[in-house]
Amino acid sequence: MIVADPKPFQQIRGFLEDYRKILVLGCGTCVTVCLAGGEAQAELLASGLRISFSKDGKEATVLEDTVQRQCDEEFVLPVLERVKREGIDAVVTLACGVGVNFLSDRIGAIPVFPGVNTTFYGGNVEPGLWSEMCAGCGDCITHLTGGICPIARCSKHLLNGPCGGSEKGMCEVDPQNTECVWQLIYERMKLLGRLHEMQNLIPTKDWRPAMDGGVRRSVREHIFRLQYKSGAGA
């Protein structure tokens, strides 16, 4: 899941000085799950903005809405129509960075501002805590590391074992909170009876499938660019 954190309120407030009719748009998927940008958070931010505007004597309307996902055309279209219909002049989206882009690509001359800081792909390891677990490198190597990713979870992205900063199972970069992933890999490989594989050299990685190869896209040929438009009859 994509994880995000709310942006500081005053930063968002600062985006909006020149606007009079603002839509705060929540997203019902990842950011809802990580409690950063769902409907409740949209309501809260909108309320905060109204209070702030009122205190500053700024006349502005703040509207709220939430869609299931801001990264799909069909979910986003009604919002775009609403923006046009109601004369909204700025949107603050609480979706991840994808949502900001997705809207900006489609909304025309209306600014879209980010309401959250998108952080990582992570798992909800305990209530209220999300941890990074995948770096989206495009060429998964976890089959070599017991299913545990050293690219995402090692502070130095080491591929051949722990550095000297691994102590008592923790990473020297954040010894309070972060486990040394190579300790985890070591224990897991031991558990799997595959410890001997750790003697093998994992060669330098081809980073092209990661974002170092340029902007990435993902294609499913079987439905990509179908010749007809569903339901459109054209």
Binding site: E39, A40, E43, S52
Partner: protein, 688 residues
């Protein structure tokens, strides 16, 4: 949002008239006692009576008993009627009836079933006449229930209500004597036989004719009418049912030194309610179990005692009443009088020679349609069902009214639909184990030694504080958290994680099973999709509600600073703070109270939106230390407050504007101080 589970709460399901128990209890909690009375009267024309004497199957089925003890529903009901008298009189005047139908119905007998049917029919527009052989209405309620249990004025309240609908009551008019059944039948479009079981059975044993042998119902009848039948100093009551206990306890109040009861049943088998037996024993009545009367002993025609034989078995394999005795084991007890209370029967002599069939003293009838054998003749109450409770009789009165209404509208017999209600079942043990225990509010009966002196009521009602405290114990079963169908539930599991009772689950989307939900509202408060609401006591429309309160207040007149105070309504010991405030009061005090069933269910937006609506300060007043019904609610609320304070700091309102207090002693004792404090601190802030 009134989306409730289709499942019935066990209390309502157990009540023969399906009183909406949760709703009247909720209204009590909100200080709306009048509204609670409305709920009661919706289905039960005898709330005053039931508040005193109902055997309360609702309590017997209350799911709270798995946690600690059932909610004191009967006394709550009594509290309602005792605290809404003026309203009730007013309400009487406003009773709306349907236009006259031009048809007449005769009701023979004015017990709870007959009067219930009479009222229902009168409200439907029928012209109803009640024939009562006695000088007062109420049947067994008026005559057979001792006054210490049911004072006459309580019964009268209910009867006044019923008569106010517009019913002709012909008192001292016994059908069969003063007026013939056939002529009634001729004069009315329908006749309802609701004569109850007003006579006691006797026993064919030697000595039964001796002077000193009495029958239970006539005895109670006499006592109720102020007469004092001769009992002597030693009284033996035969029977183990509720009427027998009433008889014994009534007899005790007439002064004899010894009152005993004897019955066939063992202690466990006795049909009387357990609490009635215990109260009787407290009053010095001893009970001889498993003895059957063999002969009444007499000398010179006067009763001197009674001989018993051992009863070895009351019920046979088929659980039918079929007593077996050991004739060899006997005992004799001296007594100056013997009162037989071994069962009741109807007096149906008035039907002799009419087409209405009576077989061996029983009215032949069809319970499913409340009909006797003759067209246009209906029946209800104990004459139809056999011995039962008042509330059951009331239920059959409703049934009979429906059947008669249908008959008069269509000419056809109505087969009453068999309503099967699906209840939410027992509270699962694992949920109960996580629920906090709260002692049931008990009232102390008058000391046994004092209560046997006369027929004064022996049980005090709840005080307001007691009623509010007890109402709080209601689990509001099956009215808990529900996911809004339109919500963007992402299956985030937050509800699962914050639920103190381990109830919430995610099955694609959030599910809060009604069987287990304890209605704490924590999931609703934390749902990031703002998609969970509570079916009752909803707080998800808080902002709209606040807007409603504030929209008519004039900003100029509003006293500043304006404090919106969310308060735990369960801490109120009077309804002073529970009632809705007037606009003027809000303006004059600058305090807007919002009573919440547990402030733990307030979401972050609930804490922020008052500032948006013009409040200068939000003061949350929680329950007393460790007083919360809901494990974990306190911690979650404290954390939420911290989060919102940080947010308010960021917004520029200042986190200190969100204040948190804990009730001390009671709402009335501490809240005004908190409000003052809240305002004072605000003053300092704005000065700074």
């Amino acid at each position: 949002m009134e989306k409730e589970s289709h499942l019935w709460a066990t209390c309502s399901a157990a009540c023969p008239v399906h009183t909406d128990t949760r709703e009247y209890v909720r209204r009590i909690s909100m200080g709306d006692y009048e509204g609670a009375l409305d709920v009661l009267l919706e289905v039960n024309p005898f709330p005053s009576v039931c508040g005193r004497i109902c055997h309360h199957p609702c309590e017997s089925q209350c799911r709270r008993q798995v946690i600690d003890a059932p909610v004191g529903l009967r006394l709550l009901k009594r509290f309602v009627v005792e605290n809404t008298r003026e309203y009730r009189v007013q309400r009487r005047r406003d009773t709306r009836k349907q236009p006259p139908k031009g048809k007449k119905v005769a009701v023979i007998g004015s017990g709870p079933s007959g009067l219930t049917a009479a009222r229902d029919l009168a409200l439907l527009g029928y012209q109803v006449t009640v024939f009562e052989k006695d000088s007062v209405l109420g049947g067994m309620l008026a005559h057979a229930i001792p006054r210490y249990r049911l004072p006459m004025d309580a019964l009268q309240e209910d009867i006044d209500d019923i008569l106010a609908v517009g019913i002709e009551a012909r008192l001292n008019c016994e059908v069969g004597k003063d007026v013939l059944f056939e002529s009634v039948k001729k004069e009315y479009d329908a006749v309802l036989i609701a004569v109850g079981l007003a006579e006691s059975h006797s026993l064919p044993i030697p000595g039964i004719g001796s002077k000193g042998v009495l029958l239970g119902i006539p005895f109670l009848w006499d006592v109720a009418n102020g007469e004092r039948p001769f009992l002597g100093d030693r009284v033996m009551v035969i029977g183990g049912g509720n009427v027998a206990v009433d008889v014994a306890r009534a007899a005790k109040r007439l002064g004899p030194s010894t009152v005993m009861m004897a019955c066939l049943e063992s202690r466990e088998e006795m049909p009387a309610w357990k609490w009635e037996i215990e109260e009787a024993e407290e009053e010095g009545i001893s009970i001889m179990n498993s003895w059957g009367p063999k002969a009444v002993l007499e000398r010179d025609g006067k009763t001197t005692g009674i001989e018993f034989k051992r009863c070895v078995r009351v019920f046979d394999e088929n659980k039918r009443f079929n007593p077996q005795y050991d004739e060899m084991e006997t005992t004799a007890v001296e007594a100056d009088s013997v009162i037989l209370t071994i069962g009741q029967k109807a007096n149906l002599d008035f039907l002799k020679g009419t087409p209405v069939t009576v077989d061996r003293g029983r009215l032949i009838c069809d319970r499913d349609s409340c009909t006797a054998t003759e067209r246009g003749v209906f029946t209800c109450g104990e004459v139809m069902t056999g011995p039962g409770s008042a509330i059951q009789a009331i239920a059959t009165g409703h049934d009979a009214a429906r059947a008669i209404h249908h008959f008069l509208e269509t000419g056809e017999t109505l087969k009453l639909p068999q309503v099967s209600v699906e209840t939410i079942g027992e509270l699962p043990a694992q949920t109960a184990a996580r629920a906090r225990r709260f002692d049931r509010v008990e009232v102390n009966l008058v000391e046994a030694s004092a209560r046997i002196r006369d027929f004064s009521p022996i049980e005090p009602g709840y005080t307001e504080a007691q009623a509010l405290a007890e109402a709080r114990r209601c689990l509001a079963c099956a009215t808990g958290a529900v996911l809004d169908s339109g919500a963007q539930c992402a299956g985030c599991l937050t509800c699962v994680r914050v639920c103190p009772f381990g109830v919430a689950t995610v099955e694609r989307t959030a599910v809060m099973p009604a069987q287990q939900c304890q209605t704490c509202g924590l999931c609703a408060a934390e749902c990031p999709a703002a998609g969970i609401a509570l079916a009752r006591f909803a707080t998800n429309k808080m902002k709209e509600n606040l807007e409603g309160f504030l929209k008519d207040c004039s900003p100029g007149a509003m006293k500043r600073p304006l404090v919106v105070s969310y308060c735990c309504m369960y801490e109120a010991t009077t309804r002073e703070y529970l009632r809705e405030q007037s606009q003027r009061e809000i303006e004059a005090t600058g305090i807007l109270r919002v009573m919440v069933p547990c402030v733990g269910r307030l979401s972050a937006i609930d804490l922020v939106s008052p500032f948006e609506l013009g409040a200068d300060r939000v003061a949350i007043i929680a329950c007393r230390e460790h007083g919360c019904m809901y494990t974990g609610a306190e911690e979650l609320l404290e954390r939420r407050i911290q989060m919102v304070r940080r947010f308010l700091d960021e917004v520029g309102v200042g986190g200190a504007s969100l204040q948190f207090y804990r009730t001390e002693t009671s709402a009335e004792a501490s809240w005004p101080r908190f409000w003052q404090d809240s305002k004072r601190v605000l003053g300092e802030l704005s000065a700074a």
